[in-house]
Amino acid sequence: MTITMPPILQVENLYKSFDNTAILKGVSLRLHQGEIKVLIGPSGSGKSTLLQCINCLVQPDRGEILLDGTAVDRTSKTSLCRLRQEVGMIFQDFNLFDHLTALNNIIIPLRKVKKICRREAEKRARLELEQVGLADKTELYPAQLSGGQKQRVAMARALAMDPKALLLDEPTSALDPELIGEVIAVIKNLAARGMTMLMATHQISLIATLADEILFMEQGSIVEHGSPSVLLAPGSNSKSQGFCDRLNELSDGRE
C-alpha cells in the first residue's frame, strides 16, 4: 500500500515526572486500526502512567498525542473530552459509579457526553450488557456484582461510547483467578471484532495470543518491541522472554 492511513493513535516523546522523579522518559508509539499492542514490564516501569497520560487523566509534561493524525490540544477542555470519548479506558479496579446500576452506569455517559436521549441510551446500554453476557444483571449495583462482572460492565460502558481505540490498564489484575477467564473472553471477542487496543497486562495468555506487538517498558522507556513470535521465541534472549518466563513460573506455581 502506498497511501498509508495515519495511525488512529500516536504518541510522540511523552515525558512525565512526579516530584522530580521521571516516570516517563520520552515514550513514543503508534497504534493503527485493528492493532493490538501489549505493554509489559516490571511494576513501576511507567505502564499505568503512560496509559493515563495518553487520555490525559494524568497531564504529560511534554510530548504530543495525535488522534487520527491531528495533535490534541491539551489545554482545551473540549478537545480533551473528545479525545477521551474516542479513546476508551479500562481500569484495573473498574471504577464503576458506585451509586448507579449496571445499566445506568452505561446510560449516564451516553446521555451526558453523547447527548443521546434516554430511550436510545437505554437500548444501547442493554445491547452492550448483553454483548458481555450480563443481560440479567442490568438492575444490580456495583456492590452486588463480582469483580469479573464489574469489569465486564466497565467494558460495556467503554464500548457503548464507540471508541476508536481502547486502553486497558491491567484489566485482570484485581480479579480472583477463577474470574479472570470471563474478562479474557470479552477481550478476545473484542480482538476478533477488530478493536484497536493498547493493553498493559501480566496475563500471559493475552500477551502470547493477542498481541501484534509487545512493548517492553523499563524505567520509563520502551526498551524493546517486536512481535511475540520473535520476542518470545525460544532462545531469543529478549527481556520480554525473560519476563514472560518469570510470569509463567509464577502461574505454574499457583496452579
Binding site: 487520555n55 473530552c81 473498574f94 471504577n95 451509586h99 456492590a143 461510547m161
Partner: protein, 223 residues
C-alpha cells in the same frame, strides 16, 4: 386529670401551641437554608481555588468558633449600629442558617473528600466534564454519605432554635418561660416544653429514617 383543664394549663397549652408554630416556622427555613449553605460552602472548600477555599474555611471557623447566642446578639442588637434593623424572626433565622450552614459545610466537605479518586477517573475517562462529574457522580454519592451527619445537625438545630427567644422571638421556649414566670411553676412548664421538643425531634428522626430508606443504594450506608 381535672388539673389539665385549669386556667394555668389552658393558658400554658395555648401559649405553647403558638410557640410551637413559631418554632416550626424558625426550624424549617433554617434547616433548608443551612443545608443549602452547607452544600455550597462545603463544595467551595473542596473544589475551588485556594483563596475561596480559605474564605470558606474562615466562615466555618468563625461560626463554629463562636457561641450562637453571641452571633444572635450581634445580628439583632449589633447590626442596628450600622443601620441594619432585623426583626426578631429574621435575626433568628439568619443566625440559625449561618450557624447551621457552617456545621453542615463540614459534613458535606467530609463526604466530598471521601469519594474515591477512581470515581473521578472513571468519569473523566468517558469524557464527562468536571462539572458533570461533580454533579452527576460525586454529589449523589456524597449526599448519601453526608446524610447521617446532616440529619444530626438538623436535630441539633431543633433544639438550639430555643435560643431565638434571647432576641425576643417568641417561640416554644420563650412562650413557656413567660407562663412559668407568671405562675412561678417552672418544673411543670419546662417538662411540657421538653416533651414538645421530644415530639419534634421524634418527627424529624422519622423523616430522616424515611429519607435514608428513599435514598438507599446497596453499598452505601447500611449493609
Amino acid at each position: 386529670m381535672m388539673e389539665l383543664f385549669s386556667p394555668f394549663y389552658q393558658e400554658l397549652f395555648a401559649a405553647l401551641n403558638r410557640g410551637f408554630l413559631m418554632s416550626v416556622a424558625l426550624i424549617l427555613p433554617s434547616a433548608v437554608g443551612g443545608i443549602c449553605i452547607g452544600i455550597a460552602i462545603g463544595s467551595v472548600r473542596v473544589y475551588t481555588r485556594p483563596l475561596f477555599r480559605r474564605l470558606g474555611d474562615a466562615y466555618a471557623a468563625l461560626f463554629r468558633g463562636t457561641p450562637l447566642v453571641v452571633q444572635l446578639f450581634i445580628l439583632y442588637f449589633g447590626l442596628p449600629n450600622i443601620g441594619l434593623y432585623l426583626s426578631p424572626y429574621a435575626a433568628a433565622v439568619i443566625g440559625f442558617i449561618l450557624c447551621s450552614g457552617a456545621y453542615q459545610s463540614e459534613y458535606v466537605r467530609g463526604a466530598l473528600l471521601s469519594i474515591r479518586r477512581g470515581q473521578y477517573l472513571g468519569a473523566y475517562a468517558l469524557g464527562l466534564t468536571s462539572w458533570q462529574t461533580i454533579s452527576s457522580i460525586v454529589i449523589p454519592q456524597a449526599i448519601r454519605r453526608a446524610l447521617y451527619g446532616c440529619g444530626n445537625e438538623v436535630i441539633y438545630l431543633i433544639k438550639y432554635s430555643s435560643l431565638a427567644y434571647v432576641v425576643t422571638c417568641m417561640e416554644l421556649t420563650g412562650e413557656g418561660k413567660t407562663i412559668a414566670t407568671e405562675y412561678f411553676r417552672f418544673t411543670e412548664v419546662f417538662t411540657v416544653i421538653g416533651l414538645y421538643y421530644l415530639g419534634l425531634v421524634t418527627l424529624a428522626m422519622m423523616g430522616l429514617k424515611k429519607l435514608e430508606q428513599l435514598l438507599y443504594i446497596p453499598g452505601f450506608g447500611r449493609q
